[in-house]
Amino acid sequence: MSEPLLVRLGRIDRRWIFLAMALSIIVPMLLKVRFPEIPQPMARATFEAIERVPEGSRVLIAFDYDPASQGELQPMANAIVHHCASRGHKMVFMTLWPFGGPLAERTIDDILLAYHPGYKYGIDYAELGFQPGNEGVVKLMSTNIPKQFPTDKRGTPLAQVPLLADLADTTGFKLVVSISAGYPGAKEWVQYANGPAPEAFTFVSGTTGVQAAQLLPYYPAQMEGMLLAVKGAAEYETIVEEKYPPPQHPERIGDGRVRMGPQLVAHVLMIVLIVLGNLSMAAGRTRGGMR
């Protein structure tokens, strides 16, 4: 009597599962499957937090991630930079991750300067770049930015950059955003910049699925806004595009919603795999299978 289908299924070669996962992403992607995104409270709170910051204020945007997390975090980075530029904020870019520099620069070229050509370096936006030291960088910036960043990313002393000349420490910003993939990231900004001066600036973070859980306790008391993985990005993109439609290349702030199509099919596949796995094990055990 041949084994029931379920037990044989238990010994399937795992490469078939790999193929199933690959197809569950490729097929909906090629068919350009899209779903409407209904913004939830957290994404809306993040949008409101940035809206409450008075127009034209000086904001800090930290790109604390690397190419490995670009898939999850670049959509948020694009939407946040577009949102801040549409509010006329003066943006200062930096990163705590060695690989974060070029990501910030590409976002500046693709989003900031493409959507808002009027932005001039040194007056409307500036780049501080990367500094080693992990939480040490945030700690020193909370009291003495010129000591931590003797020059901006282009080697010009801060005193000669109009936007950075009078910048003493992080309380000089009205809004700080950390697009964070792990350590060092949003947690270190809460502990070393927000902790010492809780009411000095609004703090918002966009984070990967892996790190989201560890940052939840900070919301909303120590972190007014938080975007949770690609779902948060897709919801936030919807609200930003509603209020500030980009002049051209709208697809550049649509990646979050594009990736939500394959996301649904892959999630359903994951659930099916877990259920099938348990059924095949149960079937195996009732026939006195291994263990």
Partner: protein, 315 residues
């Protein structure tokens, strides 16, 4: 709260040279620096307070927390017997190693992929001790593949000591504890390859793990092994809890290693942390009570008390 901190910075830098702690060798530096950039005394007319007033609650909390911990360590050193509650995962060690011996199969112990400077790896090597001792008593073959040379050295010492403690020094085989490679995925594929070939009946994963926790747990399940894990890495705990039979979750892992090492300082520290946890739970209970009364009587005395409670904690 924005301007409550007194910004006396430039005025102090002249004092800095004399107080450079770490570089005692640089007497000349302090002389040169003394006539440093003009010490611009803070413009504010306020008296320069010694302690920043807004940080007093934090100072009190720091003194209480550190006091409790140091007191507990002193208590432990003075010989007071300290007990730690039963940890399910530790009781499962005998069951797992026993089963491996019955089935004549080996036991695998993976001490994580970080070096000895990571607290989790040190805890993993400490848990290796009793596992190796039980394996020696049951005369089961224990394999320990490592991904750092320092970890291999520490693991060999621990297993050898365990064999002595079990009274079977002759069965200790250094070849079972090997160094494979520093590179994460190369180490993982080597260990997984060995798991599939030798089919150990019991697998222990104790230490710092990242993405590879999935691969170990999956292959352990497919060969039908009992799996016991221990890590403090928050991102990996869901996978270990879902896939393994027993898991030492976060602090339990450190409590287990302190209990197993029997070292007075570590036991004292765990006790001290328990006292601080008790204090924090007490503060939360007080806060909840105040908040509830304030919600019932919004303009009563409790409401203002609750507001000062919140601002003191920096909420």
């Amino acid at each position: 709260m924005i301007d409550r901190r007194i910004q006396v910075r430039r005025g102090v830098e002249a004092v800095l040279a004399a107080g450079i702690p770490a570089a005692g060798i640089l007497a000349s530096a302090s002389a040169a620096f003394a006539q440093g950039d003009a010490a611009v005394a803070s413009a504010a007319a306020e008296k320069d307070a010694w302690i920043d007033p807004a940080r007093v609650p934090l100072l009190v909390a720091l003194i209480v927390a550190c006091g409790l911990i140091v007191a507990a360590i002193a208590l432990a050193r003075s010989g007071v017997p300290l007990k730690i509650r039963k940890l399910a995962a530790l009781d499962a060690v005998d069951e797992a190693v026993g089963r491996a011996t019955e089935m004549g199969r080996s036991v695998l112990f993976v001490p994580g992929i970080q070096d000895m400077n990571d607290v989790q790896t040190v805890a993993g090597i400490t848990v290796l001790g009793p596992v190796a001792k039980t394996a020696a008593e049951y005369d089961a073959r224990l394999e320990v593949p490592t991904s750092r040379s320092l970890v291999m050295v520490a693991a060999r010492e621990t297993v050898q000591a365990a064999h002595f403690a079990a009274g079977r020094p002759e069965t200790y085989n250094e070849g079972n504890i090997t160094y494979i490679t520093d590179e994460q995925f190369a180490y993982v594929s080597a260990v997984v390859g060995r798991m599939v070939r030798e089919k150990p009946a019991a697998c222990f994963y104790m230490g710092a793990f990242y993405a590879e926790s999935l691969l170990f747990a999956e292959n352990g399940n497919s060969i039908g092994a009992i799996q016991i894990a221990g890590t403090a890495e928050p991102s990996q705990l869901p996978f270990f809890v879902a896939a393994c039979d027993y898991t030492l979750i976060g602090e339990e892992f450190f409590a287990a290693s302190a209990y197993l090492s029997g070292e007075r300082d570590q036991l004292g520290s765990i006790k001290g942390q328990d006292f601080v946890k008790l204090a924090v739970a007490g503060v939360i209970l007080a806060g909840v009570a105040l908040a509830t009364v304030a919600a019932v009587a919004p303009d009563g005395g409790a409401a203002s008390l609750f507001r000062s409670f919140q601002s003191a904690l920096g909420g």
